[in-house]
């Protein structure tokens, strides 16, 4: 069992680092998807560990929500790109003091 969890954690960590390192918003998004998938793997593994399907249901919901998130996120990226001709996350830094 532990190896599944370990794999999940490794993928999650890689996803995190990817979010931090990449500047292309779309790639950042992909990294987030990677993190979500990593958690899904953990869910499914736990489901098998515990012998019930609740973990799988959770993974299912994660997928659904991820789908919604991707849809909205990508459309935000598109509209930002339209406004700024760039999909770099560093360009949108209006939040700075």
């Amino acid at each position: 069992m532990n190896e599944y969890i370990t794999l999940s954690l490794i993928l999650f960590t890689i996803g995190c680092v990817g979010v931090l390192v990449r500047r292309n918003a779309i790639v950042v998004f992909m990294c987030i998807e990677l993190m979500l998938n990593a958690t899904n793997l953990a869910f499914v593994s736990f489901s098998r560990q515990n012998g019930n399907l609740d973990g799988q249901v959770a993974a299912f919901f994660v997928m659904v929500v991820a789908a919604a998130e991707v849809v909205v996120g990508l459309s935000i990226i598109v509209s930002i790109y339209r406004a700024r001709r760039s999909a770099s996350v560093d360009e949108a830094s209006l939040l700075k003091s």
Partner: protein, 256 residues
């Protein structure tokens, strides 16, 4: 377990590829690899339904969406190798390493106890068990996610809808503007030059060449320039063309 040990290295490598790939398209492909591998792992862990969903929704729908947007948005300088925030990469690497090692060593090894397995739960078949949970215990959450999806779809439509802020330019306007620009700044009023002129190829990624042999940037689509997909190695093309012309002339002359 065989599946796991086969797939796990592939997945890690693909994930690293996602982080390190220069081009977004490559990253997307790496991600697809991870996802498909995951689907297999789901199947191996007694989750055939999720296997299907993972393939259909993630690899099928979501990845397609990513690729489409990539096409739409194109590739730009944001993928440049140079980091803009000082120390960001180093810090991310160090923290990631610490985090990864910690969780892998500590958290990842803490799962203990007997693996129950899903034989009983999947007694009536995995989709049956899932649906019982979804429409029983989690029906409320299920309904909410459906609402969420609808909202997201609407949101995407609203966001993607481009509102026209200025009146549409008529053809007359455009031509008038062109002439004015020509008068004021001498900008050429006619259409942009076609690619491939005087070049050795006539594909769209080949710039037209000026008589002195230098490539003409404006003859190529901006997106290709942004993506760095302009064909290079045309410095001596003009010589070759001239040579070829000379040859032809000679050939013709010879015929004469």
């Amino acid at each position: 377990m065989t599946a796991f040990w086969c797939l796990a290295p592939i997945m890690v490598i693909a994930a690293l590829g996602l982080v390190f790939a220069r081009k977004a398209v490559h990253a997307a492909l790496c991600l697809a690899v991870v996802m498909i591998s995951l689907a297999v792992l789901y199947a191996a862990q007694g989750a055939p339904f999720l296997f299907a969903v993972q393939i259909i929704v993630y690899t099928g729908a979501i990845m397609m969406l990513f690729l489409f947007v990539l096409m739409l948005v194109g590739v730009d300088s944001s993928d440049a190798v140079k980091e803009t925030i000082g120390g960001q990469r180093l810090a991310a690497a160090i923290i990631g390493l610490i985090f990864g090692v910690t969780v892998v060593l500590a958290v990842g090894q803490t799962v203990s106890g007997v693996v129950v397995g899903l034989k009983a739960a999947n007694g009536n078949g995995n989709p049956y068990g899932l649906s019982e949970l979804l429409f029983g215990k989690y029906v409320l959450a299920f309904e909410f996610t459906s609402a969420l999806l609808i909202t997201a779809a609407l949101g995407a439509m609203v966001l993607a809808h481009k509102e026209r802020l200025t009146t549409r330019h008529s053809q007359a306007d455009i031509s008038a503007r062109r002439m004015r620009e020509y008068a004021e700044s001498g900008r050429h009023p006619g259409p942009l030059p076609a690619p491939g002129v005087f070049a050795r190829h006539n594909a769209v990624d080949t710039p037209a060449l000026l008589p002195d042999g230098s490539p003409l940037e404006s003859s190529i689509s901006d997106s290709l320039v942004a993506r760095g997909q302009v064909r290079d190695g045309f410095e001596d093309d003009i010589d070759k063309v001239v040579e070829q012309l000379d040859d032809d002339e000679q050939g013709l002359g010879g015929e004469k």
